[in-house]
């Protein structure tokens, strides 16, 4: 069971990265205009 000492921190680090990424999406205002994002995909350029 000693392997747990390593495995648990590894899973924690990976999931913390996921959380950090999600926090970044909130901070960069990606949830401010979800409908707009869905429509912008239709533009050819920009």
């Amino acid at each position: 069971m000693n392997i747990l000492i390593f495995l648990i921190p590894i899973t924690l680090i990976i999931s913390l990265l996921g959380l950090a990424a999600f926090m970044w999406t909130i901070k960069s205002k990606q949830y401010e205009d979800m409908e707009g994002a869905a429509k912008r995909i239709l533009f050819d350029k920009d």
Binding site: L4, I8, S15, I26, E32, D33, E35, G36, L42, F43
Partner: protein, 790 residues
């Protein structure tokens, strides 16, 4: 041939456009190489029509310096954004302007962020450009809107993310703990407990704040809400788990607490999203009236701010302008007409003459006039109504929601049971203080009203979103619950039951028989309509507009091109095939028939020897009769209008509303509702005008229309986003369905909690049972709520 820009029918077959506004917009869009706009556009093209007379407001106050030197930025509301093409054309056209650094439309907020280099005043040039292609920029500056938006920050979303992360990870350890039985050694279990604590504690501290704050506030206000038992359970379970971890205990509850927070925060987030969406729509709809006035002093005219208008000033009102203050008419070209429907609810234009009293908020329809201010804008009738509404709003009784009613019984009950459990274990079973305390705490944890807390918000989110799809905005969740008790529905007339615009009913032809004057239906309706419409399309008067509307709706033929002269407040005149054609007042048309009755809403036409009379009426909304007949079976209906007795009686008779009151002022409408409330009636008020605002504020449930004024939209709890009445039936139906589902949810949650409670009292609860009971009852409640959308 339809207009190239907005696809509305063209008045003139030779032209490619319906109006100069559309022509200008089309040319601009093509000049910038953005004609792809017309292919991309997916919303209703006829709504693209550009009003050539639309003016822009001065937006320089909304501008702020940007972080870069010489750069400015502004955040503005943009109206008219409907689909991807709108975002594209607005952003592209702005980015092609020299100086513009960034232009970004926020579709959900209906706002535009603009950053540019140059000077502050450039904003008005950009606004003018956007205005010319049919969108409108408005300042976002309203304090109410900013305050509302601040409430919807991202704290709930962040708390949700953290709780999701925590519950997922803690649950991994819990699975090992639950299913290992007694095989797991003490050391391994302590390790897993320790990691659960390490993840669980900071996450609980972070994510539980919304609930703890709400619980504290409710305690301070003396109204315990559902968040109180939730908070008690969270705090106790956390303390217990920390204690258990440190003392090598057997059970911890970090998994249940984090999972509980995660589920509850999902409910909160959905609830907030729905309200935010509704609020954004409502804020986009509210319009900001221009606030300047034209004052005459020593023979010179000067434009001043509305706030500078003082009693005794002489103001000039041009045609089409809003009147800025209350006053008395002192000078005018013969008689002119004003539209005072906003204040008085009268559907027809009112004639004014020297000495007439006029009210702020009316619109001048036909000829310029001057008036002496008796009450400046801040004391006008309009302002008094607004103050009255504000007073009613602040003194309103708090409505106790079902969930809070339940919480008031539930919270003390649970704590008493916990106390009894402790006493029972301690004295009857003689189990010792520690074991007894443990059982009591388990009772508090297991009865944590997770499903109960979800029961109401989930049902509410489902109802609000399904109503939103039908074009009904619920600004306030309470309204859904209150709707269920309604027994009396009060309607305003103009623009609520009726369309609020004149419709041509008939054309009568003057006929002389045995020296008697008779009016008979026109022998050639379409021909006479065509003549009248060709004249009328050159005027902005409501009666002219009604003739043109009728012509466009019934006849396929084109207008006759005429050179029309407009005689202010008299009528229209032209030459057609060598003869004079006149449309307007009786005297103007030289009609010398005086021994006959004709209603106020009429006009005359004379061509050659023919004398014609046009009759108009304010029509009922297309579904008014159907909806009112349906409502009449279950509720008592009352019609309350500021219009004349005859007009109100006619509508009441036509729709079958038995009780009606005419010539009501805004104040008397409110008093009427107050009186009904004293008789313990539960009232729903439906109205659109400022004259309805105090009544709307007083009523138990208030409904307004998106086309109404911004004041009523702020007051009303429910806004109907189209001009039909049928949504009222949807509203009542979905409200009763949602209350039913809410009650079922409460029943389900209570049954679950009672089962769990009996386990807890008898000391049999393990963390596994706690987690299963909590999640499955929440899941059941969510699934049950989904039925509302079906």
């Amino acid at each position: 041939m339809n207009c190239l820009h907005c696809a509305n029918p063209n008045p003139d077959s030779k032209s490619n456009f319906c109006c100069s506004g559309c022509e200008h917009a089309y040319n601009l869009i093509n000049r910038y190489g953005l004609s792809e706009y017309y292919n991309l556009y997916t919303a209703d093209a006829t709504e693209r029509k550009v009003d050539p007379d639309s003016k822009i407001e001065d937006l320089t106050e909304a501008v702020e310096p940007s972080t870069d030197a010489n750069h400015f930025q502004a955040n503005l509301i943009i109206s008219g954004i409907k689909c991807a093409a709108c975002i594209w054309v607005v952003e592209s056209i702005l980015q092609k302007q020299t100086g513009v650094k960034k232009a970004r439309v926020n579709f959900a907020k209906k706002s535009l962020f603009l950053e540019w280099q140059g000077n502050r005043e450039e904003i008005n040039r950009y606004a003018q450009l956007i205005n010319s292609i049919g969108y409108k920029l408005l300042p976002l500056g309203s304090k109410i809107i900013n305050a509302e938006e601040k409430k919807y920050d991202n704290s709930i979303l962040k708390a949700l993310a953290v709780a999701g992360f925590g519950s997922g990870n803690v649950m991994l350890f819990s699975f090992a703990l639950w299913f290992s039985g007694n095989e797991m050694g003490q050391g391994t279990r302590d390790l897993l407990h320790f990691f659960s604590l390490l993840i669980g504690l900071p996450i609980i501290l972070y994510s539980s704040r919304p609930f703890l704050i709400s619980a504290l506030n409710s305690m301070r206000a003396g109204y315990p809400n559902m968040d109180l038992p939730i908070s008690v359970a969270i705090v106790l379970a956390t303390i217990f788990s920390v204690y258990s971890t440190l003392t090598h205990g057997r059970y911890i509850y970090f998994d249940s607490v984090t999972m509980l927070l995660f589920l509850l925060l999902i409910g909160r987030y959905l609830d907030m999203q729905a309200r935010r969406k509704v609020f954004r729509l409502a804020s986009e709809l509210s319009s900001f009236s221009p606030d300047f006035a034209r004052v005459e002093k020593d023979g010179k005219t000067k434009i001043i701010q509305a706030s500078e208008v003082k009693e005794g000033m002489l103001l000039i009102v041009a045609v089409g302008e809003k009147i800025g203050a209350d006053g008395v008419v002192v000078e005018g070209e013969s008689e002119s007409e004003i539209d005072s429907s906003l204040i008085t609810g009268e559907s027809l234009p009112k004639f004014i003459k020297i000495g007439s009293e006029i009210y702020a908020g009316s619109i001048n329809l036909s000829a310029p006039f001057k008036f002496r201010v008796t009450k400046p804008p801040q004391n006008s009738m309009l302002a008094e109504i607004v103050k009255l509404v504000a007073n009613i709003e602040t003194s309103k009784n708090r409505y106790v929601r079902i969930a809070d009613k339940l919480a008031r019984i539930y919270t003390p009950a649970v704590h008493i049971i916990a106390l009894l459990t402790f006493l029972f274990w301690c004295f009857t079973l003689k189990a010792g203080i520690e074991k007894s305390l443990l059982s009591a705490i388990t009772v508090l944890i297991i009865t944590c009203p997770c499903a109960l807390a979800l029961a109401a918000p989930i049902a509410q989110v489902m109802s609000v979103s399904s109503l939103l799809k039908k074009g009904i905005l619920i600004k306030n969740g309470e309204a859904l619950e209150k709707l269920n008790h309604i027994d009396t529905i009060i309607f305003d007339k103009t623009k609520t039951i009726t369309k609020g615009e004149l419709e041509l009913m008939d054309i009568l032809y003057h006929h002389r028989e045995d020296a008697q004057h008779l009016w008979r239906p026109s022998p050639d309706f379409n021909y006479h309509l065509k003549l009248a419409a060709s004249l009328a399309k050159n005027s902005g008067h409501p009666i002219s507009a009604a003739i043109v509307r009728k012509f466009q709706a019934t006849a396929s033929a084109d207008f006759i091109p005429l050179a029309v002269a407009e005689h202010k407040a008299q009528g229209l005149q032209s030459e057609y095939e060598g003869e004079t054609l006149r449309l307007g007042r009786k005297e103007f048309c030289q009609i010398k028939v005086d021994d006959c009755f004709y209603p106020q809403s009429s006009c005359f036409m004379r061509y050659k020897n023919e004398q014609l009379l046009f009759l108009f009426n304010d029509q009922l909304k297309s579904d008014a009769l159907e909806v009112i007949t349906e409502l009449n079976q279950h509720k008592s209906l009352i019609l309350l209008s500021g219009d004349t007795e005859s007009a109100v009686a006619a509508v009441a008779k036509e729709t079958g509303i038995k009780e009606f009151y005419a010539e009501q002022t805004p104040i008397s409408k409110a008093e009427f509702i107050q009186k009904l409330k004293e008789q313990n009636k539960k009232i729903m008020m439906i109205g659109d005008g400022i004259n309805d605002a105090p009544a709307l504020a007083l009523a138990d449930v208030s409904v307004s229309f998106a086309l109404g004024t911004s004041l009523t939209q702020n007051v009303a709890e429910i806004i109907i986003n189209n001009d039909r009445l049928a949504p009222i039936l949807d509203l009542l139906r979905i409200s009763s369905k949602s209350i039913l589902v809410m009650k079922q949810n409460f029943a389900l949650a209570l049954v679950y909690n009672l089962c769990a409670l009996s386990f807890a009292v008898s000391g049999l609860v393990t963390p596994l049972i706690a987690a299963v009971a909590m999640s499955s009852s929440s899941l059941l409640v969510i699934l049950n709520s989904l039925r509302i959308n079906r």
